[in-house]
Every structure is written in C-alpha cells, then in structure tokens.
Symmetry: C2
Subunit: 327 residues, 2 copies
Amino acid sequence: MYDGTLGVIGAIEAVRALRESGFSPRRSISVVMFTSEEPTRFGLSCIGSRLLVGALQTKALDDLKDASGVSFHEARNQAGYEGDISTVRLDAQSFSAFVELHIEQADVLETTGVNIGAVTHIAAPAAAEVTFEGSGGHAGSWLMKYRNDAGLAGAQLALAVERIALDRGDDCVATTGKFEVFPGAINSVPKIARLGIDVRDVNLERRDSALQDIEKEMMQIATLRNVTANFMVNNRDDPAACDGRVVNAVIEEAAELNLSFSQMVSRAYHDALFMAKQFPTGMIFVPCRKGVSHRPDEFVDEHDIHNGVAVLAGVLVRLAGEEKTEL
Amino acid sequence: MYDGTLGVIGAIEAVRALRESGFSPRRSISVVMFTSEEPTRFGLSCIGSRLLVGALQTKALDDLKDASGVSFHEARNQAGYEGDISTVRLDAQSFSAFVELHIEQADVLETTGVNIGAVTHIAAPAAAEVTFEGSGGHAGSWLMKYRNDAGLAGAQLALAVERIALDRGDDCVATTGKFEVFPGAINSVPKIARLGIDVRDVNLERRDSALQDIEKEMMQIATLRNVTANFMVNNRDDPAACDGRVVNAVIEEAAELNLSFSQMVSRAYHDALFMAKQFPTGMIFVPCRKGVSHRPDEFVDEHDIHNGVAVLAGVLVRLAGEEKTEL
C-alpha cells in the first residue's frame, strides 16, 4: 500500500533526514497522520481532516455505524481514544502551511515521464443517488410499447452523465459507478433502477452546473419513459485551490534537484482538500504504475519514492526555514 | 395464486362437471399437473413438461442443484418420487390433443373487455448473458477521454436491445432484466458489466435474428468503447403454434356460451410450449387484474374463472366426444 502510507512514512523520513543534516527550522514541523481518509468503515471519508478544520460537526459522528453496527465512538474507544473529540479542532494559526506527499492515482506522470507533480487544485466530488421507478411486468407478456422500463431510463441517464461531463472538458469527470435494477430477474422488466453518480471538478460552479444538468436530464427521461424519478445529493464537497507559495516551493525544489515536474490537478479526494479550508496547502505527486490504486497491484518505484521524499524535505526547508512574516 | 393453479383446479372442476352432467367421452380425458414450471428452485423451467415430451435428456437432471446445494434427485426422493425418471416420457399417441387453461398474465383481455383468449401461438424466449469488461479506474482521477467504462457499454446495449425489438413490431419483445456493474462503487468506473437479456417472439426466425442483431450491436459497442465483450446464450426454446382444431374448439365453445373472445398470442412461457412439440395443443386465457402475475396481488375474478372452466369443459366435450379419426 502506497496510497496514504507514502505520505506518513515519507514525511517521517523527510524529517529524519532534515534532522540528520543538522537543519534547524524557524517554524516547527509536525507530521500529521490522518485517520479514516477512505470512507470504507463508516461511510464518511476524511473524518480526521474534517474534524481538524471543523468541516464536520462532532455530533455528526454520533450516528455513524459500521456494517456490523459498531458505532464510531465504540470503535475509537476500543482503539484507546477516549477523549472529547471536539478538542481535536485546530486553531487557524496552528500551521503556516500544509504539504501532502501522495501517489498520483492516475497515469499522467508515468506516461509523460515526469518525476514530480505540483498540485495546483484538488477537485471535489458530489455524489448523487437517482432512483427511477416504473411498473415492471413480465418480460414476455408486456409489449414493448406499453412498457415503462426503469432500467432503460437508468441506461439513458448513465449515457447522459457521460455526455454532460464530456461537454465541460477535461477538468470535469462524472461517473455512474453504481447501477442496480430490481427485481433483477431475466424474465422481469426492471421496475426500479438505482444509480450512484459521482461528479468532480476543480471548479465548484461548473461541478454544480453538471449536477443540475444531470437532474434536468433525469426529469426529461422520466417524462419520456413515464417513470417516477428521485434525485438525492448524498455528499457535496467544495474543491480547493492550492496555495501559490506552497506550489512554488514544490516547483523550485523539484527544479533544484534536477527533477522534471508538471503543474497538475488532483482529481482524487485527499485530506489536503479539507486542510486547505484552513491552511495554505500544497501536494506533491509521484508516479504510480499504470495509475493503479486501491488494488493489490498498486505500486510505486523506489526511485520515485526517493524523489518525492527529497522534494518534500526541500519544501519543508523552504517553508519552515523562511522568516516568520505576516501570512 | 392463479398462475398454474387455475389450470389444475379448473381442469379437475371441468371433469367433475362433465361427469355430473352424464357426459361420456369417446376419448379418455386426463388431468395433467406439471411440476417445476417456474424455474425458481433448480434454475430450469418446465422440467415436468420437458421430460414428458423428451425435450430434456434425463441425465441433464443429474447436475441440477438448488441454491443450498440440494440436488434435483435428492429433492424428488425426499418428496417420495423414487422411480426411474426416464419412464415418464409419453408416447406420441398418448393424447390426441392438449388444452391448458391459464390466466393471461397481461392486460389485453381486461382492457379490451374480452372474456376469453384463444391462444394461437406461444412465443418462446431465448436468454443471453452479455459481459463487458474494461479497465475500471478511480472515478476522480481517470479523465473521461481515457475511460473504457463497461457500465456505459452495457447502457448502450440495453437501449439497443429495446430498439431491436421495437424494429420488429409487436410480436417481438426483448428485455434487459439483469444489469449488474462491478465493483459497483460510486467512486469507481465500472470495470465489468453483466447483462441478462431475454428475447421472445412467436416467429423463431425473427427471434433468432433479433438475438443475432444484439450480438452484432454488442461487438460494435465493444469496439467503440474499447472493452472486451462476451455473448453467451443460456437458453433458447422454440416458439410453438397452436393446433387449428383445438383453437377452433375454443372459439366455437366461447361463441356458443355467448362469451366474447379474441385470438391471441401467449408471450409468457407455459408447459403447453413443450406439450405442443408432441401433441396438438391449445390454450384458453382468462383476464387477470391489471395483467399482474408472479406477485401477491395477482387476482382473477370469480366470474372469469367460471367462464374459463365452462369453455374448457365445452372444449373437452368437443375434442373427447368427437369420432376417433386419423389425426
């Protein structure tokens, strides 16, 4: 596993190397390890970073349960964390900057042969659930012209979701990652279709306009196919822009180390998305093999890890070594 | 439950009434109750009628298991049926005609206010499973233009299936009743889509040409979207035409009883589909409420049951009372 792990181990290694080199920072350096970035256990991503910057109300945690009914609080107590969770909230003055080293989770760096990505924007997802409902019926006895097939309404919407993203250019992506039909039997016309749609953009307005167009399209399809339709937004986070000072530190350090670099957008979700709400933030990307992530074959070359940690250490020198001035 | 039950109880009642009336048939009358018409437990429909006419090899039963691993043979032994199953095969001379009373399972009779359907053809299904496979990927980091989304290939094919059936007119129906995507997570581009497609027609050639067109369309979509595609036909039964003599007996009897009637196609699957392979066959349809079947709210009015049983009794008189001549 490199996703996440590289950021933690790499940061510890960068600090170790700086210490060994005798570097004395003007600002103190903290290594932050976030918990629950992936939404796997409690269905909510980035719980750690959301809490640190106050992007999540403490009481929202009270309702979180995992698949086997264990609550978030039970789980943290079992893990030995029993304190008042509202105290984790950081002051706005806690850090003058935040930098996260991460694998790219796409293959742009690999295919272009570039060593380092200096992230300028972090796209943010909105997640919607769409439900179409028709009359269903027997796949043999209901003539085509009398049907109101919820599955076909879903198929049309999934294709519209693709078109809506394509119309907005490269910075917008939209995905129908969940597509379920009920009853889901080969001899039944689908009565219900449930789609999970994820829309991301670095530009909030464009992202939300895509979401609106998807809802409009859903209504049109529902009218056309005589099915009912429901649109529910389950999650909607704001994209973040990285801080120019941090981005420049990444670029300058990469250049100084004779590494090739590109400014790029992070389209995946990161704790940096939330840290950026409160602190000047940047990210350092390194290539990962074929862009594969969240899979056992996720892999990052040792050489690229070395490059990433070296850039991180240099960025820390630049940011923590600078004169304390007004931010 | 009326689907199936009406045919069994209705036939027993018709024979009881004929006996009471003193009718003496020239040909003997048998009431046949088929087992396992619905494919629910062992995944194969019409096991009883298939075996009676030799449309299923006895050894095909050896591999049948239900969801909990109980074999067909274990289940029949537990139910007290221990004999040699190959002996159930009927001679071609066993019956001079076969008539099945059944609920329509669609709403044509109800909406047109007609009492009796005289079935002229029984459509037969072919079932295909299509699998598309692409590269999947992270819903955030894979740009639209680099994707090969198996779910969208599936969506296109489902819409094509509808168009292919519509192009062939009312007697052809095609349904994508199963539509599954994997991994099926909102933040993952679908890597695999699996569709279950059912195609039915009263005309075998047209049904099979629809199936071929679906396969062709699948190949084109696969090329267009750079995904792999697999087409597998899991089941393909032949449609059946009813016998003119039996259809006429239904029509004449309905007319004599002052009931309105229509000649119609049965688009659902019945044991009569297989009995027709060996015996001159007909079906009598009665209206069912809103065409609903296979659901707890399936309902047939008592008056319509009476009409159906009366027509069946009259048809039995016509067919079993006639002079024995060459068939």
